[in-house]
Amino acid sequence: MHLHRYEKIWLMLGTGALALFIVILSVNAFAMGMTPPSHMEMIDPKKVDQTAPFDKPGLKKIGPNEYELVMVSFAFGYQPGNVEVPKGAKVTFITTSKDVVHGFQIPGTNVNTMVLPGHVSKITHTFDEPGKFLILCNEYCGAGHQIMATHVIVK
């Protein structure tokens, strides 16, 4: 097949760009652990209150300035609410839903995941700046959707 010289150049550039994107994303995912929020773990949504770790929701210290925050999402709120962590804390949010599909987003950060009943969503964020960070539901979940929010206070 005959190709024009320019066609060869732009096909090479396009293929090269795709290869570059894939290499960058692969390095990010496999070497630096920057993957999308996990939805791999399953749970019986009817027995959330009896299933570990959701039987004892709350903040748990797992290392030097490293925390796990187990949160239950329900219509219309998060349990526990208004959690305090020190500045620089690396927090892994572990959440699931007791009823319908909810959202879990901290605006201005990469924390943004769907919370599906029957699935466990995990997402990690490091809070380098002090402040009051809003956690909100961004999936319409019912009549009280607009009040479904809580805060992470970083001191």
């Binding site: 320019y6 150049i9 732009w10 550039l13 760009a17 950060t109 990469n110 964020h125």
Partner: protein
């Protein structure tokens, strides 16, 4: 159709074919520049979004 008449038809076809000028390619300069501009736009927006993701982490 015998072999001779077949040969004659082939010659006829050859004669009626339009004359093509070999080695004359269409100019793709404008297309090339457009493709490069579009490519630059895609690459720039991709890195823009990627940068946003990295800085928010």
């Amino acid at each position: 159709m015998n072999l001779q008449s077949q040969h004659q038809t082939q010659q006829k076809v050859k004669k009626t074919q339009p004359k093509t000028q070999p080695n004359q390619e269409p100019s793709l300069k404008g297309t090339f520049i457009s493709v490069l501009l579009l490519g630059a736009f895609i690459v720039a927006t991709w890195f823009g979004v990627f940068n946003l993701f990295i800085n928010r982490g």
